[in-house]
Each structure stands twice: as C-alpha cells, then as structure tokens.
C-alpha cells in the first residue's frame, strides 16, 4: 500500500472563525488526503504535539486574528526543536502581503490568502510530496 499523506489542519490563536479551516479540511479529504482536524483556539504547543503523535507530513495553519507573525513561526520552531523539522508548515487566512516575505524566511513554506483556489493548495502539497497520488 502506498503511504498516505497526512495533514493537520489547525487554528492557532483566539479567533473563532473556522469556516476557512473547515473548507480546506473538506477539500483536502476530497483530494484523497487524511486530514486531522483539531478545531479552534489551539496553542502552537498543542498543534506540534498533535502533528508528532499523528505522524503527519504537513501542518496547515489558519488564522484570521492578525497574530500570524507570532504564531506561525512558533509552530515551525517547536517542530524543529522536537526533531520534526521535516514536517512542512503552510498557512492561510487574512495575511497582509507585506508579511509574506517574513513568514517565508521563518520557514512557513506557503501562504494561501483569501480567494486562493483550492487547486493551489493541492498543487503545493503535491510539489512537496513529489507524487501525483494522494
């Protein structure tokens, strides 16, 4: 059996707007991925613990509160500290264009802003797994 790609979709921070996260989770399921959905108000610590226990390949973070510059890099760093730096972190939500360079430098490998088509997310995942199958 081929290895299944597993993805955590999590919402760090304090905003409760989970529609985007649920949309992505659902779309990734339809694309053939196993999505672990953790819900709202997660700390970077709980997201990283989840990612490691679930042995995922990707962590997708959704955030609309404006705390992305703080919380996204924190997730990346915690993963590295726990020797799980190979897990790919990407993000989405209301993120101003001027923050993209900063986040990229901090190790967030892709950011999907409002209006980004789901096919972009799937292409990104495929490009990182080097396979066409889910």
């Amino acid at each position: 059996m081929d290895k299944k790609i597993r993805i955590v979709i999590a919402k760090p921070g304090l905003d409760g707007h989970d529609r985007g996260a649920k949309y992505i989770a659902r779309a990734l399921k339809d694309a053939g991925y196993e999505v672990i959905y953790t819900g709202i108000r997660q700390t970077p610590e709980s997201i990283v613990a989840t990612a490691i226990q679930e042995d995922v390949d990707f962590v997708g973070l959704s955030l609309l509160s404006g705390a992305h510059n703080e919380l996204f890099p924190r997730v990346v760093n915690l993963l590295k500290e726990q020797e799980a730096g190979e897990i790919v972190v990407f993000g989405g939500g209301v993120i101003p264009e001027e923050d993209l360079g900063f986040l990229e430098k901090k190790g967030v490998q892709a950011i999907f802003r409002p209006g980004a088509p789901i096919s972009d997310v799937i292409s990104f995942i495929k490009s990182k797994t080097g396979s066409t199958a889910a």
């Binding site: 700390t43 042995d55 726990q82």
Partner: protein, 317 residues
C-alpha cells in the same frame, strides 16, 4: 538506539513512526510486530463503540481525565471512515480531546479506516501493540460510528463499552443481533434529554429476556451526560470494576487467547494466499480466467480444484 528500545522508552516520535510503519503495510511491519510482542500484554484495552454522534469522543475525553487523575498513562486510537470515493478522510475525533494534547501521559492517534469494514482499520491491532509495548496502562479504541454489524472491535478489546443515545428506536431494535450483543457495559449518554430512562429500561428488558449468563456477567447499564460531566465518574468506576472482574475470573485471558487465535489464522491465511497467488501468477492470469468463466467455458469450483491439483503435483501444497 533501535526503534523497539525507543518505543519501550516511551519516545513519542518513535511510537508515532512505528504506527505509521504498521498502518502503511510497509515491509518493516512484520519484524516490528514480532520484536515488540514480548513486551505486550500488560495494558487494559477498552473498546468504545456506538452509533455516530452518540458522544463516543466526548466520553473518551472524560475517561482520559479520570485516568490522568490516577496518574495512569493512556493512549487512544480514534478511527474515522475513509472516503470510498477519494480515499481521503477527516479525522475529527481528537477535536474533543485536545485539552490533553500536550499532556505527556496521553497519546492520541487518529486512524482512517482505509477501506476496512467492521468499525476499525487494518492497522488498529498493530497500533495497540505499539502502545502496549510503550508502557501505556490503558488503551482505548474508539471505533467509527457504527450501525448494527460492525463488531470487529470485540476482537481487540478486553472490554466493550457501547454508547447509545435515546431516540433511536424501540426495544425490538435493542433485541436484534449484532452490536447490542457485544457490550460488556452499556452507556446511555445524553441522559439529560428525553427518553434516556426509557432506553435504559428497554436495554434492561432485553438483557433479562432469556439471559442465561451468570448474574455478575450481565452488562451494567450506566446513565451519563458526557458533555455535562454527570454520571461519568460512576461510569469510569464501573469500567475498571468490570475489567478487574474479567481479569480475576479468567475471562480476559480467554478473550485474549481467542484474539491470538484469530491473529494466527489471519497471518496463515494471508501468507498462504500470497504463496498461492505468486505460484498461480494471479496478476497476469486472472483476466483470462475471468473471461473463460464469463463465457461459460469453465466452471468456477471445478477450475479452482484443477489448479489446486496442479500445485499439489508440483509439491507446492
């Protein structure tokens, strides 16, 4: 340090990776399971099953808390269905257990059914062994939301907790074969809504009818509201009373032996199939054979018999 040692030392990363090796049916799987086998058999294994939306994950969350209050290490395997269309899955059970995410004494692993029927996944039994070898005191298997016949969890667990909710039919539903027969303990959840008491008495009625079991083995029925956290401590106490009863009466050992029997049979069956299919060159030949049976040139039983005779002559069988 090798993987088995790391698992035994409780290394989170190693445990998680080991489960993936098993779940993905990798070539390392068999050796891994054999190598951890000597270190298993110590954990209590609880199966939590019931229909979708009955509150299984929420009750598991409560059990985790009670176990942690007693300083027990607990692992949860939460199974959710894979899509029959895309093969993808939304694994959302741990959403209700996330307050325990950073607790080092709690390990939650979500598994997709990956086409396996029966309420669990093919990798579930292997994952149980990994957690057992890693020294977890208690392992909970939360099944997919089940209907009437998905009862395979009984082959994995020392105790089955069947979670039901009011409003799903009359006592005739409760009398039917299948899921209602495998419970060691009934939980009527959402006890704050109408009909909980009635459901409890319907289950009681069903259990009283023609039961020839010893009094102590008749499954208790507990009322609780997992969400409001009422009745949960009593449920928890009851679970462990039952487990100890099963352990002391020898019932647990019997069940575990049946489990081992099934495991051995399963390994034999799959290995034999592998040998047979290789020798028959199944992959290449099957479409040709299908055509012949389809066109009524050959008959299925007779055809297989002849093939088996050929293998016998070649001393494969």
């Amino acid at each position: 340090m090798d993987l088995v040692e790391k698992i035994r030392s409780g290394n989170t990363r190693a445990i998680a990776k080991a489960i993936s090796l098993i779940e993905n049916e990798t070539k390392e799987k068999e050796e891994l399971i054999d190598n951890i086998h000597p270190f298993t058999g110590n954990a209590f294994i609880i199966g939590v099953t019931g229909p979708p939306g009955a509150g299984k994950s929420t009750i598991v969350d409560r059990i985790i808390q009670f176990e942690r209050n007693r300083n027990k290490k607990i692992a949860v395997i939460a199974v959710d269905p894979s899509s029959p269309f895309s093969g993808g899955a939304i694994l959302g059970d741990r959403l209700r257990m996330q307050t325990h995410a950073t607790d080092r004494g709690v390990f939650i692993r979500s598994m997709a059914s990956r086409g396996h029927l029966g309420g669990i996944s093919t990798g579930t039994s292997g994952a149980i062994k990994v957690f057992d070898a890693a020294g977890f005191d208690t392992i909970i298997i939360e099944t997919i939301g089940v209907g009437q016949t998905e009862v395979e969890v009984i082959e994995m667990a020392d105790l089955i907790l069947l979670t039901l909710v009011p409003g799903m039919g009359d006592e005739i539903q409760a009398m039917k074969a299948g899921i209602m027969e495998i419970a060691d303990l009934f939980l009527v959840n959402k006890s704050d809504i109408d009909g909980a008491d009635r459901l409890k008495s319907e289950i009681e009625y069903m259990l009283m009818l023609g039961s020839e079991q010893a009094e102590t083995l008749i499954p208790p029925i507990k009322l609780a509201s997992a969400k409001n956290n009422t009745g949960t401590e009593e449920l928890y106490t009851s679970i462990f009373e039952r487990l100890n009863l099963f352990k002391n009466s020898g019932l647990m050992a019997n069940r575990r032996k049946i489990r081992i029997q099934k495991e051995i049979e399963h390994i034999f069956a799959s290995k034999l199939k592998e040998i047979l299919y290789t020798r028959l060159n199944m992959k290449e030949n099957i479409s040709f054979w299908i055509e012949r049976v389809y066109n009524r040139e050959i008959r299925p039983y007779n055809f297989v018999k002849e093939k088996m005779m050929e293998l016998k002559k070649e001393n494969v069988l």
